[in-house]
C-alpha cells in the first residue's frame, strides 16, 4: 500500500522524461568514464611499462586526463539536471497540493488537520523532492556501474568473473539481513523514544498533581523503565550496525585477496598480463561499492514513502461540495432564506449534527442561534455558506436551492465573522479589503467606524496603513474581532453571519457595536450564533439547539415561558455570569 503510493508519485515523474533521460545518459557516460580509466591504466602497465615506452605512457596518460575531465563534466551536469528535475517536481507537487487544499471544505480540512496539512504541503514534499534528487544520481549510478563493471571485468578476463558471481550475492544477502533487522529495530526504537518523551511530557504537565499525590517515586520508576528500554534497544541497533560495516569491508577485501591469489596463479602461468589483474581489482571495487551505495539508499526510502503517502492522501481527497455545471453565477440581493427539513451528519458520526431543521427568515430580521458546545450552531452557518451540503431537505434562497448557485457567487452575498478572528499579514486596509477588493478608502473608514475599530486605528501612527503581523499578534483579541467585523461590513452583503463574534469584546464595546450595527444593516438578514444569552436577547427570533435538534424558535420572552432547554441555559449562565 505504502509502496504503491510512493510509486504513484514517482510515476508522475514521466512529465520530466526528457530531463530524466538526459540525467541517465550523463550518468551513464560518467560511469563509463570511471570504468574506462582502469582499462587505460592497464594499457599503461601492460604495454607502456613492459616495453619501457615512456611516450606511450604519456600518450595514454593524456587520454586518461581527457576521459577524467569528460567524466567530471558529465557528473557535474548530471547533478545539475537531477537537482533541477527533482526540485521542479517538488514545485509542481507543492502547487497541486496547495490548490487542492484551498478547494477543501471546512470539514475535509479539519479531518486532515491544519498542522498536518501544513507539514504535508511543505516538509513532506521537500523530503520526497530531496529523495528524488538522491535517487536520480545514486540509484541510477549504482546499477549502471555494477553492470558496466561486470562487462569490463568479463572483457578483461572472463575466466575470473566467477569471483564476482560468488561475492556479489553473498554481499547482497549480508546487507539485506542486516538492514532488515536494523529497520525493524529502528521502528522499535522510534516507539520507545516516543514512549520516553510521552512519560516526560506527562511529568512536566502534571508536575503539581504528581507532587500533590506524592507519586514522584512512581513516576520516576516509569521513567527509568522507559529509559532502560530505550537504551537497550539503542545499544542493540548500534551493535548491529557495528557488525555490519566491518563485515561488509571484510567481504570486499576478501574478494581482492581471491583475485590476487587466483590472478597470481594465472599470471605465473602467463595466461594473463599483470595490468589486467590490477584493473580487475578496481572493477570489483567499483561494483561492490555501488551495491553498498544502493543498499544504503534503501535506508532512506521508508521515511520518504511515509511522506509520499501523506501527500497522496491529500491529492486523493475529493472535495464533496462542487459547483454543478448549470449553477447560477448571478444572484440578486437575497430577501428570504428558507430551511426546509434540513438534516446533516458528518460522514463517520453516529448521530446527525443537525436534524430536521425548518425555519424561514426575511430581509431585515435578526435571527439568533443558541445552544451548548456541539449542538450544531456552527454547522447551521456552514451549511448556509455551502462549506458542506445538506444530507436531506434543502436550503432555499428566494426559492432557489443553494446547490444551484455557484459557490463564489453565493459567498459574495455573505458577510461572515468567524468565532476566532483571523487576520492576515498586511496593512489594516489590506485586511478590510479582503472583504471587498475594490473598496475605496472612504468605504474602508466607514466600515472601521461602524465596527468601533476607528477608535484604536486612528491613534496608530499609520492608521489604516498600520501593518498587521502574521496571525495578528500585534493587536488584541477584541481589536482583531472588530477588524474582522469591519471586513464583513465593507462587503455590503445581504446576509450577515456572526459566529459567536462578540465574546472577545468588553460589555461597553459590545453594546455600542450592536447598536451601530442595528442602524447600518437594517435591510440585511442577520444570523448571530452566541453562547451568552445577553448578546442575543434582542433578536427577532432565537433558535434553541440541543444535540442538533431544534428545541424552540421564538423571542426571548416566549422561550422563557415555553422552552425548557432555553430556561436551563439561562439558569446555568446566570451562575456563571455572576462572577465572570
Amino acid at each position: 500500500m505504502v509502496k504503491t503510493r510512493m510509486m504513484r508519485l514517482l510515476r508522475e515523474l514521466k512529465v520530466y522524461r526528457a530531463s530524466i533521460a538526459t540525467v541517465i545518459l550523463l550518468i551513464f557516460l560518467q560511469s563509463m568514464a570511471n570504468l574506462y580509466l582502469p582499462h587505460l591504466m592497464q594499457q599503461i602497465v601492460d604495454v607502456g611499462v613492459l616495453h619501457g615506452d615512456t611516450g606511450y605512457i604519456l600518450n595514454m596518460g593524456a587520454w586518461m586526463l581527457v576521459v577524467s575531465i569528460a567524466g567530471g563534466i558529465c557528473s557535474i551536469l548530471a547533478s545539475y539536471f537531477a537537482a533541477k528535475v527533482a526540485m521542479h517536481f517538488g514545485k509542481d507537487l507543492r502547487f497541486r497540493v496547495f490548490s487542492k487544499a484551498e478547494s477543501f471544505t471546512v470539514h475535509e480540512f479539519s479531518k486532515i488537520g491544519t498542522a498536518s496539512l501544513i507539514t504535508r504541503t511543505t516538509n513532506d514534499i521537500r523530503q520526497v523532492a530531496l529523495l528524488i534528487n538522491m535517487m536520480l544520481r545514486m540509484m541510477v549510478m549504482a546499477p549502471l556501474t555494477a553492470i558496466g563493471g561486470i562487462v569490463m571485468a568479463i572483457v578483461t578476463d572472463a575466466s575470473m568473473t566467477w569471483i564476482i558471481v560468488i561475492v556479489l550475492p553473498i554481499l547482497g544477502f549480508v546487507i539485506y539481513l542486516v538492514l532488515r533487522q536494523a529497520t525493524k529495530l529502528f521502528s522499535v526504537m522510534q516507539v520507545k523514544i516516543d514512549t520516553l518523551n510521552r512519560v516526560l511530557r506527562e511529568r512536566l504537565m502534571g508536575i503539581r498533581v504528581i507532587r500533590a499525590f506524592d507519586r514522584v517515586r512512581y513516576e520516576s520508576d516509569r521513567f527509568t523503565k522507559a529509559n532502560k528500554d530505550l537504551t537497550d534497544t539503542s545499544i542493540a541497533v548500534n551493535r548491529l550496525l557495528a557488525s555490519m560495516f566491518p563485515l561488509v569491508m571484510l567481504i570486499v577485501n576478501l574478494s581482492t585477496v581471491m583475485i590476487i591469489w587466483f590472478g597470481g596463479l594465472k599470471i605465473s602461468e602467463q595466461q594473463m598480463p599483470i595490468g589486467s589483474l590490477m584493473a580487475f581489482i578496481q572493477y570489483i571495487m567499483q561494483i561492490l561499492f555501488s551495491v553498498l551505495m544502493l543498499s544504503m539508499m534503501s535506508f532512506m526510502i521508508p521515511r520518504a514513502s511515509a511522506s509520499a503517502t501523506r501527500i497522496v492522501e491529500v491529492l486523493d481527497t475529493d472535495t464533496q461540495v462542487t459547483d454543478s455545471p448549470s449553477a447560477q453565477d448571478q444572484l440578486p440581493a437575497i430577501s428570504k432564506i428558507k430551511f426546509d427539513h434540513v438534516s446533516f451528519s458528518f460522514s463517520q458520526a453516529s448521530q446527525p449534527a443537525l436534524q430536521d431543521v425548518s425555519f424561514e427568515v426575511n430581509r431585515g430580521e435578526v435571527i439568533a442561534i443558541i445552544g451548548g458546545t456541539g449542538s450544531g450552531k456552527s454547522t447551521l452557518l456552514n451549511l448556509l455558506m455551502r462549506f458542506m451540503d445538506v444530507n436531506a431537505g434543502s436550503i432555499l434562497l428566494d426559492g432557489v436551492d443553494l446547490r444551484q448557485i455557484k459557490q463564489t457567487t453565493l459567498r459574495r452575498m455573505m458577510g461572515y465573522v468567524p468565532q476566532k478572528a483571523v487576520l492576515f499579514s498586511g496593512t489594516i486596509a489590506d485586511n478590510i479589503r479582503f472583504g471587498q477588493e475594490e473598496a475605496t478608502i472612504d468605504e474602508v473608514r466607514k466600515a472601521l467606524d461602524i465596527a468601533q475599530a476607528s477608535e484604536f486605528v486612528d491613534v496608530m501612527t499609520e492608521q489604516e496603513n498600520a501593518v498587521i503581523t502574521q496571525g495578528g499578534t500585534n493587536v488584541s483579541g477584541g481589536q482583531k474581532q472588530r477588524l474582522s467585523i469591519a471586513r464583513a461590513l465593507v462587503r455590503k452583503p445581504s446576509v450577515y453571519l456572526f459566529d459567536d463574534s462578540f465574546s472577545a469584546l468588553d460589555y461597553q464595546t459590545d453594546a455600542k457595536l450592536r447598536s451601530a450595527l442595528r442602524h447600518e444593516i437594517d435591510d440585511a438578514i442577520v444570523f448571530i450564533v452566541a453562547q451568552r444569552v445577553a448578546t442575543i436577547r434582542d433578536a427577532d427570533r432565537i433558535i434553541v439547539l440541543d444535540d442538533g435538534v431544534v428545541q424552540g424558535i421564538d423571542t426571548h420572552h416566549e422561550l422563557m415561558q415555553t422552552c425548557k432547554a432555553y430556561q436551563e441555559i439561562v439558569a446555568s449562565q446566570l451562575s456563571k455570569e455572576e462572577s465572570a
Binding site: 502547487f95 484551498e102 491544519t114 548500534n238 566491518p246 569491508m249 581489482i281 479582503f434 462587503r491 451562575s575
Partner: protein, 623 residues
C-alpha cells in the same frame, strides 16, 4: 502548548543531515573547556572500555593502512618473479612469495575488521549508557526541582533539550569520538606508507591536495549563500501556507482562494529558482571530489608508470597508491568537520548541564514532624510571600480556619488566586511567617506527608496515558476496583464511563481528546474522592463545559466538600455566600478578608466587586 510543536519538529527531522559545514551555522558552547571537562567525568566510569576502544581503533586503522602496501608487494613480486624467470617457469618460487603475501593480506584484512568491530561494538555500549545516566540524572533532577522552574520555563524547551540534545550527544559519542583516533592515525599512516614507497609519487599526490581544499572551500561558500537564500524563500512560502491554512474558512468565505493560489504560485516559483541551485551546489561536492580523485589516479598511473620504467618503483606501487589516494581524502574531511561536531556536542551537553544546575527544593528535614490525629485546622500566621524579590505580594497575612470550614477565595481574573494553593502545598516556600496544620508548622513536615492531607481539583485537569481506572486510582496506591467505582459514582462519573466502549478499562490518550472538559473534571474529582484528603483545594472555574455536565461538576464538588476543610477559588454566588470566610484578592494580594456580610458592610473592594459583577448582571434581571 509548546509540546505539540516540539513533537512535530521531531517528526520533521530531515532525512539528510548535512555533514562537513554545508548548510546552517554551528551551535557553540559558551564554556567549551569547562563543559568538556565536566562531560569527561561521565566517561570516567567507562575508562577501561574506552581504553579498549582506543587500542582497537588504532589497531584496526594500522592494519588497514598496511594492507595496500602488502597488496602492492604481492603484485610487484608477481611481476618481478615473472621477469626474472621469464620463459623458464619455476613457478615454485613465485608461488611461495605470492602465498606468503596473500596470507599476510588475508591476516591484515581479518584483523582490521575484527578490531573495527570490537571498537564500534564497545563504543555502542559506552555511548548509550552514558546518555542513559545523563537522562536518569535529568529525571531525578526534575523530581527535586523547585516548582518555580516549571512555572518559568516552557515545557517545549525542556522537551526539545531532552530529545534533540541527547540525540546529538549519543551520535557524537558513537561516531565522532573514535573518528578522531582513526582519522588521525590513518592520515599519518597513509603519508608514512606513501613516503616509504616513493617520495616523488607522494609529492605528486600532494599536488591534488590544495585542489580539493580549494574546491571544498569554493563550494561551501557558494552553498552557504544559496542555502541562506533558500531558507529565506522557504520561510516566506511556509508563512503563506500557514497563514492561508489557518484562515482557511475566512479565505473561502470571502472567495479569496484564487488570489491566495496566485500568490503561492509566485512564491513557489521564486523558491524553485534558488532551491535547485542550492541543491545542485551542495550535491556537486561528491562529483567534484570524485573528479579530483580521478585526476590523482591519472597522475599515479602516468607518473608511476614512468618511475617503474626507470626502476625506482615496483609495479605494485600503482595499486598501492591508487588505494592510498582514496584513503587519503576521507580522514581530511572528517577531521575538518570534527571541530564543528565537538562544538555542537558540547553546546548540547551544556544545555543538559544547565538543567542539572537549577535550584532544587529545600530538602525535607531529617526529623520531620508528624500529625498523629489530624483534625484539619489550617492557620496562616503573619505569612509573607513574593514570586520576585522586589514585588512583595502577600504581607503579614493571618487566617485561621477551623476543621470542616470553607474559605472562598474571590477576585478578578489574574488576581493570583493560585498563590495560596502554591503556599499551602509548599510548591513555593513562604518568605516569612508560618503555615500550620493543626499544630504542626508545615515547613517542618516531609513534603510528601504534607501533601497527602490535601486534595486538589484544579482547572487544568491532569490525566495521563493509561486507563480510566488507573487515572482515578492515582489518588490511592493499591486501590481496588470497588473503591474506584465507588469514587466514580460519588463524582457522578460512573454513568459516562459506563457508556464508553471499554468502560473503566478505556485507554485515555495523552491529550484526553475523547473526553469533554467537564468529564475530565469529573474524573479528577473522583480521584480526589478516592484519595480521601483532610483538606480540599478546589477551583470552580469551568471553561466551555456543556450545561448538564457543569451542573454535575458543581454538585460533585459540593459533595466532596462535606466535612472537609476547603479552600475554594470561587466563581459561584452561592458558594461565596455560603462560605465561612472570604479572602478577597487583587493583583496577587489578599486585600480584604471576612464574612460575606461583614465585607459588604466594610464597603470596600469586595462590595464593589460584588455589586459590579454579581448583582447588577444583565442576566439576573432577565431570569
Amino acid at each position: 502548548m509548546n509540546t505539540s510543536s516540539s513533537k512535530s519538529n521531531q517528526d520533521n527531522r530531515p532525512i539528510f543531515r548535512n555533514h562537513g559545514g554545508f548548510g546552517g551555522p554551528v551551535q557553540k558552547a559558551k564554556d567549551f573547556r569547562g563543559t568538556l571537562w565536566r562531560f569527561s567525568r561521565y566517561l570516567y566510569p567507562h575508562r577501561w572500555k574506552l581504553t579498549i576502544v582506543f587500542f582497537a581503533a588504532i589497531f584496526s586503522t594500522v592494519f588497514n593502512v598496511f594492507s595496500p602496501y602488502v597488496l602492492g608487494q604481492a603484485i610487484t613480486s608477481l611481476f618481478t618473479g615473472l621477469y626474472r624467470y621469464h620463459g623458464i617457469g619455476p613457478h615454485g618460487v613465485v608461488l611461495t612469495t605470492l602465498s606468503t603475501n596473500v596470507l599476510t593480506l588475508l591476516g591484515l584484512y581479518v584483523l582490521s575488521s575484527i578490531f573495527s568491530f570490537i571498537q564500534q561494538y564497545t563504543m555502542a555500549g559506552v555511548a548509550q549508557k552514558t546518555v542513559y545516566v545523563l537522562r536518569q540524572q535529568v529525571d531525578e533532577k526534575i523530581s527535586r526541582l523547585a516548582l518555580r522552574y516549571f512555572d518559568e520555563h516552557a515545557h517545549g524547551d525542556l522537551l526539545s533539550r531532552f530529545i534533540n540534545d541527547f540525540d546529538i550527544i549519543a551520535n557524537s559519542l558513537q561516531q565522532s569520538l573514535t573518528q578522531i583516533i582513526t582519522s588521525t592515525v590513518s592520515l599519518v599512516g597513509v603519508v608514512i606508507m606513501m613516503l616509504t614507497i616513493n617520495v616523488w609519487m607522494t609529492l605528486v599526490i600532494f599536488v591534488t591536495l590544495p585542489l580539493s581544499v580549494l574546491a571544498t572551500m569554493f563550494i561551501a561558500k557558494r552553498s552557504q549563500r544559496y542555502f541562506k537564500e533558500q531558507q529565506r524563500m522557504l520561510g516566506t512560502l511556509n508563512g503563506h501556507v500557514e497563514e492561508m491554512y489557518t484562515g482557511h474558512t475566512v479565505v473561502r468565505a470571502f472567495g479569496q482562494e484564487e488570489r491566495s493560489i496566485a500568490e503561492f504560485e509566485k512564491m513557489n516559483e521564486q523558491l524553485f529558482s534558488v532551491e535547485y541551485k542550492a541543491q545542485f551546489i551542495s550535491g556537486v561536492i561528491m562529483p567534484v571530489m570524485g573528479f579530483i580523485g580521478n585526476i590523482g589516479y591519472v597522475f599515479v598511473s602516468v607518473f608511476g608508470g614512468y618511475l617503474i620504467v626507470h626502476g625506482s618503483v615496483g609495479i605494485g606501487g600503482i595499486t598501492s597508491f591508487t588505494q592510498y589516494t582514496s584513503q587519503f581524502s576521507q580522514p581530511i574531511t572528517q577531521l575538518a568537520s570534527i571541530a564543528n561536531i565537538l562544538q555542537s556536542t558540547m553546546a548540547s551537553a551544556e544545555r543538559v548541564f544547565e538543567i542539572l544546575d537549577e535550584q532544587e527544593e529545600i530538602a525535607d528535614p531529617a526529623e520531620a514532624s508528624v500529625i498523629s490525629d489530624p483534625k484539619g485546622r489550617v492557620a496562616l500566621d503573619r505569612v509573607a510571600f513574593s514570586y520576585k524579590e522586589d514585588e512583595p505580594l502577600i504581607r503579614d497575612l493571618s487566617v485561621e480556619v477551623q476543621p470542616g470550614k470553607t474559605v472562598a477565595i474571590v477576585g478578578p481574573t489574574g488576581a493570583g488566586k493560585t498563590t495560596l494553593v502554591n503556599l499551602l502545598m509548599r510548591f513555593y516556600e513562604v518568605n516569612d511567617g508560618r503555615i500550620q496544620i493543626d499544630d504542626a508548622d508545615i515547613a517542618t513536615m516531609r513534603r510528601g506527608e504534607l501533601r497527602r492531607y490535601f486534595g486538589m481539583v484544579l482547572q487544568d485537569t491532569w490525566l495521563f496515558h493509561g486507563t480510566i481506572r488507573d487515572n482515578i486510582a492515582y489518588g490511592k496506591e493499591n486501590a481496588t476496583m470497588e473503591e474506584v467505582k465507588e469514587a466514580a459514582k460519588a463524582a457522578f462519573a460512573d454513568h459516562f464511563i459506563q457508556t464508553l466502549p471499554e468502560g473503566y478499562e478505556t485507554m485515555i490518550n495523552e491529550e484526553a481528546t475523547d473526553l469533554s472538559a467537564g468529564q475530565k473534571q469529573l474524573l479528577t474529582i473522583a480521584r480526589a474522592i478516592l484519595a480521601d484528603p483532610l483538606i480540599l483545594l478546589l477551583d470552580e472555574a469551568t471553561s466551555s463545559v456543556d450545561t448538564r455536565t457543569e451542573l454535575l461538576v458543581s454538585e460533585a464538588m459540593q459533595k466532596l466538600r462535606q466535612n472537609r476543610t476547603s479552600f475554594i477559588i470561587a466563581h459561584r454566588l452561592s458558594t461565596i455566600r455560603d462560605a465561612d470566610w472570604i479572602l478577597v484578592m487583587d493583583h496577587g494580594r489578599v486585600i480584604e478578608q471576612g464574612t460575606h456580610l461583614g465585607l459588604l458592610e466594610q464597603k470596600g473592594f469586595y462590595e464593589k466587586l460584588y455589586n459590579s459583577q454579581f448583582s447588577q448582571g444583565v442576566l439576573a434581571e432577565m431570569a
